[in-house]
Symmetry: C2
Subunit: 382 residues, 2 copies
């Protein structure tokens, strides 16, 4: 099956899909098992670039209580020149106080030592349970082991090492116009945009003179527009590394298509999710209003359970829109709502509302709220 499988993604013409285990030229990765995850699955990963001229960009959660790895990245990294990122899953190293900061810094330093780099060139990312200290002996040993196992064909191992409640690895390798781009992501719950809520790593040999601008734009229209449960994580991080070694520019629309498909993979893999909906609000009085309404509908537990139940109950869409517009007065009837696909047996559906207040529009994607979301989050500590 093609990586680009959503109805909402139009990859550029001529794109070629590659083995996702292979990283873009100049990059190596690894993923190892340290026992942080009780399941014994891989839980510590490294991705590194051999090219000292690599350019990079990173985006982080807007949560006011960011996890120590996010703070280390912001405060002690040269985010425009990152050579490597060390990551772990199974424990988010979040809400861990000063000890957590030390632990994240120790991860950064150990990875830098093992790779022969300055610590400022090494990013740190963690994901998993909040509020517990990392088992540092295991983590540090895992980093050293990973550094000995790095390979250009280890993208799959790395993708596995960042998974939490994901049902499978999220990754791709594509080639277009002489440029290779590879990416690995994870995410399933605690998922609502600031820009996004997840970990994502992108490698390319394209020339990207303005990586921050390109990354921010592509993330805004992809990870920035998804929600599973309206919850913004403490650990969201996206990294883009570009060597420029191909001597070719990043083709128009390539990064955008890859990030959008990955974002939709995250929503579709939302905890317990069975369906994904694109929710669009149009004829709003401002862009902010359109987005506020679209998000209120997408995050409504009543709308989300209706999507799960194939219940063509468009009244809940009107109710959620009215809630988002408190202080205004609007007339909303059946003619304002497009909910035809709610009752249809499709995995990807579209919902719309016309507000009749102006000419602005916005859309977001959400998953449904199911028994399995409750089960996953009531029965397990995640």
């Amino acid at each position: 099956m093609s990586f680009f499988r959503s109805r909402w993604v139009q990859p550029p013409e001529g794109i070629e899909e590659r083995d996702p285990a292979a990283l873009a030229p100049g990059f190596r990765a690894a993923g190892v098992r340290t026992g942080v995850k009780p399941s014994g699955e891989p839980d510590v990963g490294l991705v590194t670039c051999d090219d000292p001229e690599v350019r990079s960009a990173a985006l982080f959660t807007a949560n006011a209580a960011p996890a120590p790895p996010v703070r280390i990245c912001r405060e002690r990294c040269d985010l425009g020149s990152l050579r490597a990122i060390v990551a772990n899953s199974g424990n988010a190293n979040a809400a861990t106080g000063p000890h957590g900061i030390e632990d994240a810094a120790d991860m950064q330093e150990r990875a830098a030592d093992a790779l022969g780099l300055s610590p400022t060139l090494v990013g740190v990312a963690s994901t998993g349970v909040i509020g517990r200290r990392l088992p540092m002996a295991a983590i540090l040993a895992g980093i050293e082991e990973a550094a000995t196992e790095l390979g250009g064909d280890r993208g799959e191992d790395f993708a596995h090492s960042i998974m939490t409640t994901d049902s499978g690895p999220k990754r791709c390798a594509v080639r277009l116009d002489g440029v290779t781009l590879t990416a690995q992501a994870k995410g399933a719950g605690m998922m609502q945009p600031g820009f996004a809520t997840l970990l994502c790593f992108v490698q390319t040999d394209a020339e990207v003179p303005d990586p921050s601008v390109r990354l921010r734009g592509a993330a805004e229209s992809s990870f920035g527009r998804i929600t599973v449960d309206g919850q913004m994580s403490t650990n969201d991080s996206i990294f883009l590394q570009a060597t420029g070694a191909s001597g070719r520019p990043l083709p128009e629309g390539l990064l955008e298509a890859v990030l959008l498909q990955l974002a939709l993979d995250v929503v579709a893999d939302g905890e317990g999710a069975t369906r994904v909906a694109r929710v669009e609000a149009v004829e709003a009085a401002s862009e902010e209003e359109a987005e506020r309404v679209a998000r209120a509908i997408a995050n409504s537990q009543l709308v989300q359970t209706g999507i799960f139940g194939h219940d063509a109950n468009w009244g809940r869409i009107v109710q959620a829109a009215g809630m988002a517009l408190v202080g205004e007065e609007v007339e909303l009837g059946p003619e304002n709502v497009d909910a035809a696909e709610l009752g249809e047996d499709v995995a990807e559906l579209e919902l719309g509302i016309r507000l009749g207040r102006g000419s602005w529009g916005a859309h977001v994607w959400c998953s449904d709220l199911t028994y399995d979301y409750v089960k996953l989050n009531a029965e397990y500590t995640t």
Copy 2:
């Protein structure tokens, strides 16, 4: 069992509970079956006051798309002198456009005719499914029937006639200092404060010279602080009617205690709910900030499923608080969170967070998110 059964309600000393079927002196009510509810349960109700000097007050949803009955109340009622209110359940008459306005006006007029009152003295309230027109022939016949069955001992019938997904009627009759106060409420889902989301009717023979002020104050600290699913209804309405016939003032704390217990009954009866939590945020930089944080925690699907699962996962409380404080930077660790009761086997529990940013505090109450919430809202059109 006493009506006042929550750990969070302190009724005034000396309060006496009466048969909840009996209305306050001077009031009569009825509830009849018209078939609007497929279950055949009562679905049209009337409550009326025999005293032309009655004073009244009403509060309505802040939803920007209020239902026609709310609009009729606002636009065509003398809300300070309401003699009667006509109500129906099973159909909210919401998102029904100009036809819905006509239908709500017809309900008002038919009730006024049957009671020999001016339509401006009759309020209208509806609750139930959104987006369908009322079966007006049945409704109007039901109003006429109800008008012939009015009695001072029919509070129980009226309370039944306003139920939707409620597990039982919510009502009380209390007496204190020579004053009688009776109340009936409904509510279970689509429940998040503007002030509240439900229907509530209060009758008393106390002297209440400032019914709007008293009602607003009592509602703000009760229905204004509860959430089941973060969804603001299109139909929320609270009515207070006071005759003053007792010649005594409304005792301090009486209305407040009754509305708080009714509000907590609504949360405890939240769709699928098994537990109620009081969520308090303290040491906030402003009252608005405290309330924003408390609501973000209370409405978090992750926190709500954790309450259901008795999962002492305090990290989700930190995450939700951090999300509510986007744009700030805060340090939140285990010492900031009081989540001890999460894992305990209590039906009413308290959660707290200290933000360390100032001296403001706020609290809200929420229910948990359970399999049965998903079942109720995915399998049935409500």
